[in-house]
């Protein structure tokens, strides 16, 4: 009954002549007698343009502050004396981008992420779906996962080195572990929150058990699965970088740590920025995939 109330009070039936919903934001340009293509575009994307400008300005301010504190070697309890300035970092980036070694570091990290994350997704999503569907399986696996889940992936490093024949495999394993649990738990949670009336509607339309699973439970859980993938990707990077710093050869985490050991301070910052950008790019890729696979939620 409560569900019925929640979904109550829909807007009155608008009918085919309903006006299209107004574009959000875009109160910037005043209405003219004949709005040109430009002002119309400005009005439609006004919000996005303003957000972009503000964002660029705030990044510029941040870099400026960084410049000021490092050029003047300020010591405000936090010591900026040894911190490289933006121009130092730019110079080292210039050098690094020209060398094939830096690129190898990046590619190595990307490959490890890809293997570990893809493996985690390929195991955790089906497992989560099945656990959501079959109670016995859930009751069997859930306690184990609850015990293992709180252990940070980094704590697995020594164990991973023992378990796997090579360094490469143990790093991929750490990355896998980091992303596995967020994906599993979100998938499971998504399965638990599927509106059962949808399953019943499908059965009334002649769907078999398997068809209900494929046509209802899977798509209904997809948004939660993507939440899991996004979180999992973040944790995968955290785990990867830590693992590379501890036991790596190659990889952007290793590059960053090595820069510290070799007293090449600008490279530390270059490594950090690269890690940030890679993380950003991978979560963007996941969001893009989500948009493609879930066109209905983009319409919201």
């Amino acid at each position: 009954m409560s569900r019925a109330i929640l979904s109550a009070a829909p807007p009155p039936d608008l009918g085919p002549a309903a006006p299209p919903p107004a574009a959000p934001g875009g109160g910037a340009a005043a209405p003219e007698a004949q709005p040109s293509a430009w002002t119309r575009r400005l009005r439609r994307h006004g919000g996005a343009i303003r957000a972009g400008l503000v964002g660029a300005a705030s990044i510029a301010l941040f870099v400026l502050a960084w410049h000021v504190v490092t050029e003047n070697r300020m010591n405000l309890y936090v010591r900026f004396g040894n911190v490289p300035s933006p121009s130092d970092v730019l110079a080292s980036a210039d050098a690094a981008l020209g060398s094939s070694q830096f690129l190898t570091h990046i590619l190595t990290s990307c490959r490890r992420i890809l293997y570990g994350f893809a493996l985690a997704a390929a195991l955790a999503i089906p497992l989560g779906l099945l656990m959501g569907r079959f109670k016995l399986l859930r009751e069997m696996i859930f306690p184990v996962s609850e015990v293992l889940r709180p252990i940070p992936a980094i704590a697995w490093v020594p164990m991973a080195i023992m378990l796997w024949p090579s360094n490469e495999e143990s790093i991929v394993f750490i990355t896998f572990l980091g992303s596995f649990f967020p994906i599993l738990l979100n998938t499971l949670h998504g399965m638990a929150t599927v509106d059962p009336v949808l399953g019943r509607a499908a059965r009334c339309l002649g769907a078999s058990e398997a068809a209900v699973f494929r046509e209802v439970y899977l798509p209904a859980t997809l948004p939660q699965i993507f939440t899991g993938l996004t979180v999992g990707m973040g944790v995968a990077w955290v785990s990867l970088i830590a693992a590379e710093m501890i036991s790596g050869q190659f990889g952007i985490g290793y590059f960053t740590w090595e820069a510290y050991s070799l007293v090449q301070y600008p490279d530390i910052v270059l490594g950090m920025i690269t890690i940030g950008l890679l993380g950003l790019a991978s979560s963007f890729a996941i969001r893009l995939l989500g948009r493609v696979l879930m066109p209905w939620s983009a319409a919201r």
């Binding site: 009954m1 569900r3 019925a4 979904s7 109550a8 009070a9 829909p10 807007p11 009155p12 039936d13 608008l14 085919p16 509106d195 009336v197 949808l198 019943r200 509607a201 499908a202 059965r203 009334c204 339309l205 002649g206 769907a207 078999s208 068809a211 046509e215 209802v216 798509p219 209904a220 997809l222 879930m294 066109p295 209905w296 319409a299 919201r300």
Partner: protein, 306 residues
């Protein structure tokens, strides 16, 4: 086969509406001595007891009753989701074993698939039946066109109003050609105005389809306006309190709701329902409570009077 004599018996007392239909294509629903008991943590609850009812092929039957009297329970048993604790539920003589596309169901909550467009929703039943992609798209387009929903075929349900969602839900249920349509308070969440329009759409649609309909509601006017016959249920545990024929002519027009026949039916039903609603609220309601306040304040402050 026991189905044949059952069918004969039904034909014998079929009303004029069914007789004028081209050919009965089945859709006889018989519920006999139905009882359903839920086993919950607080113990067993009898939701419905001793219900017997029939829906003849092509007939529009409503069930009306106070909240919690077991209307949805009964409908879920007909849909095949609940097994009767005792008694039988049959469709065209066959006991109901589980859900199936021969009985279209519109649920109390909206149940369109949010990840499918309007057309894909309508196609769903055909897809489950193994109809090819092109053919089911064509069938769904045709059906949506007939229902005046063509303009929305590529919309996702999210963007539709409540009335539109239920219309699409009805079209989706009809796409597989069911013999029976089961509707559980389909317009309960709509505003009064939309509701009237939906009622008219439904009655016109039914007029053309001539399939059996079981319509659950707790709105008197809705039940009278739509139905050939109305079963009134008692409060929980639900039983049939009365069975009332609605002799209003077809097609039904909104203006009929003002006719003296309609109002007389309404008055009769009203008193039946009122008794049950009071009973459903149980000890909550006494004569004093019904007065709102058992004292006349004449505009004075409550604290001062106290």
């Amino acid at each position: 086969m026991s189905a044949i004599p059952l069918f004969r018996r039904d034909e014998a007392k079929a009303p004029a509406a069914a007789a004028s239909a081209p050919k009965p294509k089945g859709g006889l629903v018989e519920v006999t001595d139905f009882r359903l008991r839920y086993d919950s943590a607080e113990g067993a609850v009898d939701a419905v007891t001793d219900v017997s009812l029939t829906i003849r092929p092509g007939e529009f039957v409503s069930i009306i009753g106070p909240s919690g009297c077991g209307k949805s329970t009964l409908l879920n048993a007909l849909a095949g989701f609940l097994k009767p604790t005792s008694g039988t539920v049959t469709v065209d003589g066959e006991p109901v074993k589980g859900p199936g596309a021969d009985r279209g169901v519109i649920f109390q909550q909206y149940s369109l698939f949010p990840w499918k467009t309007v057309r894909e929703n309508v196609e769903f039943g055909l897809k489950m039946r193994g109809v090819g992609r092109a053919e089911r798209a064509r069938a769904a387009r045709t059906l949506l066109g007939l229902a005046g929903l063509s303009a929305f075929e590529n919309h996702y349900p999210d963007r539709l109003s409540g009335g539109m969602k239920q219309r699409v839900g009805i079209v989706r249920a009809l796409a597989t050609g069911p013999r029976i349509l089961l509707l559980d308070e389909p317009f309960g969440a709509l505003d009064a105005q939309t509701r009237l329009i939906m009622q008219q759409i439904l009655t016109n649609m039914w007029q053309r389809l001539k399939i059996s309909v079981l319509f659950i509601t707790h709105d008197l006017d809705e039940a009278i306006f739509l139905s050939d016959r109305i079963y009134v249920m008692t409060s929980r545990p639900g039983t049939v309190k009365a069975e009332i024929a609605v002799p209003l002519p077809r097609p039904r027009e909104p203006a009929m709701t003002m006719s003296s026949e309609f109002l007389a039916l309404r008055r009769g039903l009203m008193s039946l329902i009122r008794e049950e609603s009071l009973k459903a609220m149980g000890g909550e309601i006494s004569e004093e409570a019904l007065q709102g306040l058992a004292i006349n304040l004449d505009g004075q402050d409550i604290p001062r009077v106290l």
